[in-house]
């Protein structure tokens, strides 16, 4: 590196004394080539600084944003979308594309074949052998659910949610015959006229949400309208017998129609409760796993200020909630904590030493307001400390093991505004540290040899510089719904099961149909 380059780098780092700054700036005014060199070096230095910021978590910045956060927030919404697009598309990738050394593109996903309806979610659902959908596809025919709860979406957008036992016949996308059991239907405006046929009657929707119940033995049926309006007709006839409005109900018995009190809407299953049910079953099982180090299910206890460790066994790692607020999680009725302000965190202490661990969490990130966004970090960055964080620059979830690692990026990137499953699997003996986003490999690292992990005092959702260093608070901005840490490594199949059992619904994450299991 020649003297001039060294001089320019020292200038860029503010390391020159004032007299030499004045001297150099005078030269820069006269010398176009010197200005060019300075600009080239400024590009490289800036890139190095960005890179280093994502490599290391422990250094506070020399200063925080120079204007009030509220002003930054004014444009954050606009930037957020663009960040998602750009941060993942690093200059490295752009360079490779420019020089035509492009990585092999992922194979195009095949569209799901057309069907009359699709199973979009289920909890412990089992269909009778002779009356089951083909995988997740419903065509015209008879179906019988013998266990669990299921959510079917017809191709015209009609949502039907039902729990066992139920038997019905799907005639076409506008007509379903309910033979026995009960269901909830939500009909979008474009499917107005959708009809549920019951013994002797047709319930024709006029754009609404309603519940229908049929007792096959007594041939008694009920209609409960939760929203909008439903028209009641004699089977196969055009004339309207009655119009049932929001908050009204009727029952049909022996051919006669009678008004009755509308049932509690909860008597009919809701789509949102299916994922919640599935998760509850899984959660009760996993908390008994003897390899658990801690399990925060994010179910609010009486105090509201502690985050209970629900793992069964001794050595509980209770969290202390600092300012973070309880809000709705992945499903209605399920809680999460919102981290939205500086100082929002959960403090905890992970005792002892570890050679292996697996971390898993469900998060919904609202924005990326800083370069490194803590998820769960040791308070310091001493040897053996662990930092699990999201890097804005590469848009990836990463596990940092002090004192540093060799890093390889993989395709999986963070997504804002939707529930995302994060996982980190670390084996210090094998020198492997991998992170996963929605089950896909995100970052792979080779931690240094001879290090044993000792996370110690940690913060969830925030990181603050150690004492003596000018503080710079870094905070996760969004919701965290679940955090589990095992003392062992989980393989990729086990990680996928975490997602299958915890995803908000089967259409998650891209509103594309995902295959069950």
């Amino acid at each position: 590196m020649n003297e001039e380059t060294e001089l320019l780098i020292a200038y860029l780092h503010g390391e020159l004394p004032p007299d030499r700054v004045i001297e150099l700036e005078a030269r820069l005014k006269e010398d176009a080539d010197l200005r060019r060199s300075l600009l080239e070096l400024a590009t490289e230095e800036s890139e190095l600084e960005e890179w280093a910021q994502t490599e290391h978590a422990f250094q506070p910045a020399e200063k925080v944003l120079s204007f009030p956060v509220s002003r930054w927030l004014a444009i954050a919404a606009c930037l957020a979308l663009a960040l998602v697009v750009w941060w993942g598309n690093s200059y490295r990738q752009a360079y490779l594309e420019l020089t035509s050394v492009r990585p092999t593109p992922a194979p195009a996903q095949t569209s799901p074949p057309a069907a009359m309806g699709l199973l979009v979610d289920e909890a412990a659902a089992a269909f009778a052998d002779h009356a089951a959908p083909a995988g997740v596809q419903f065509d015209a025919g008879e179906y019988e659910l013998t266990n669990g709860t299921a959510h079917m979406r017809l191709m015209n957008g009609v949502d039907l949610v039902f729990r066992a036992p139920i038997r019905f016949r799907l005639l076409d996308v506008m007509n379903l015959e309910l033979i026995d059991g009960s269901l909830r239907a939500a009909v979008p405006p474009n499917a107005q006229g959708f009809t549920v046929k019951v013994p002797e009657m047709d319930f024709e929707d006029l754009g609404t949400e309603f519940g229908v119940k049929v007792n096959a033995k007594t041939r008694r049926s009920e209609l409960h309208v939760f929203d909008g309006e439903v028209r009641v007709k004699k089977s196969g006839e055009a004339n309207e017998l009655a119009s049932v409005q929001i908050g009204e109900a009727v029952h049909v018995e022996n051919g006669s129609l009678k008004r009755e009190r509308v049932r509690d809407s909860d008597a009919f299953p809701r789509a949102a409760e299916i994922g919640f049910q599935r998760w509850k079953i899984w959660s009760q099982t996993v908390r008994k796993d003897p390899d658990l180090l801690l399990y925060y299910s994010f179910e609010r206890d009486g105090s509201g200020v502690t985050l209970p460790d629900v793992s069964v066994g001794t050595g509980k790692v209770e969290g202390v909630i600092r300012n973070a607020r309880w809000v709705t999680g992945r499903w209605e009725g399920k809680q999460a904590l919102l981290f939205d302000r500086d100082g929002d965190s959960v403090d905890l202490e992970i005792p002892g030493e570890l050679n292996t661990f697996t971390f898993a969490a469900w998060v919904k990130q609202d924005r990326m307001n800083i370069g490194l966004i803590p998820v769960l970090n040791s308070i310091g960055w001493e040897t053996g400390d662990v930092h699990l964080q999201i890097g804005r620059r590469r848009n990836r979830f990463s596990v940092g093991v002090s004192p540093g690692s060799i890093v390889t990026d993989h395709p999986a990137e963070m997504k804002l505004g939707q529930w995302v499953h994060l996982a980190a699997v670390v084996d210090m003996e094998k020198r492997i540290a991998r992170t996963y986003i929605n089950g896909e490999l995100s970052v792979e690292k080779m931690p240094p040899a001879g290090i044993t992990l000792s996370p110690g005092k940690c913060r969830l959702g925030a990181w603050v510089a150690a004492a003596g260093i000018r503080p710079r608070v870094r905070g996760f901005r969004g919701r965290i719904d679940e955090v589990v840490i095992w003392r062992r490594t989980l393989d990729e199949d086990e990680l996928k099961q975490l997602i299958v059992n915890g995803r908000p619904n089967v259409l998650w994450p891209d509103n594309q149909l995902a295959q069950l299991n």
Binding site: T43, S46, E49, W51, L65, C78, Y91
Partner: protein, 180 residues
């Protein structure tokens, strides 16, 4: 006054800002003396650009337009900063012209991409040391030396050699790929 040929909303401006971040940052960084100040000014520039979206006349004029916003804010920042000497407005304007020329020849994002590839080729120890030296709060060479069990002098030499390697790697790569 010419009528704008295109209409730009805030989201479009935001995405253009991010796509051109390297070019804008190169100019800002060249006029300031540390990363944090440059980040702050970049954010100020972003804020002004997003709020003035209606003033942008066409896509081609985006970088010069943002560079002009940057020029004003750089001068303001240097004037207000107690740590830096005020910068000659003429030099800031000359830097803007030179930045446009450099960008036309080798876009900053191409140079940044080459640097990322060169970083990957650097030995692990050298990369770790560089990352400590370049992180938000630059670690003192003495502390890096302690961490790696080396003398201060040897650490200085390694850091210097690493930066030198990166510099020559970027230059060679750009030349080899016909991008400079």
């Amino acid at each position: 006054m010419d009528e704008p040929t295109e209409q730009f909303d805030e989201a479009t401006i935001a995405s253009m800002l991010i796509a051109q971040r390297a070019a804008i940052m190169a100019y800002i960084r060249a006029c300031l003396h540390n990363h944090a100040d440059s980040e702050d000014v970049f954010q100020e520039v972003s804020l002004v650009a997003v709020r003035s979206a209606a003033k942008l006349r066409d896509r081609k004029g985006f970088v010069p337009w943002v560079r002009e916003i940057s020029r004003r804010l750089i001068l303001e920042h240097r004037r207000k900063s107690g740590r830096m000497t005020p910068l000659d407005p003429e030099l800031v304007a000359l830097m803007a012209d030179t930045a446009a020329e450099v960008e036309a020849e080798t876009p900053a994002k191409v140079r940044a991409g080459a640097l990322q590839l060169c970083l990957e080729a650097l030995p692990e120890d050298q990369r770790s040391m560089l990352s400590l030296r370049y992180a938000d709060r630059r670690m003192a060479v003495e502390d890096i030396a302690k961490r790696f069990g080396k003398s201060v002098q040897a650490t200085y030499a390694i850091l210097k050699r690493s930066r030198q390697l990166l510099r020559s790697c970027v230059t060679k790569k750009l030349q080899h790929d016909g991008l400079a």
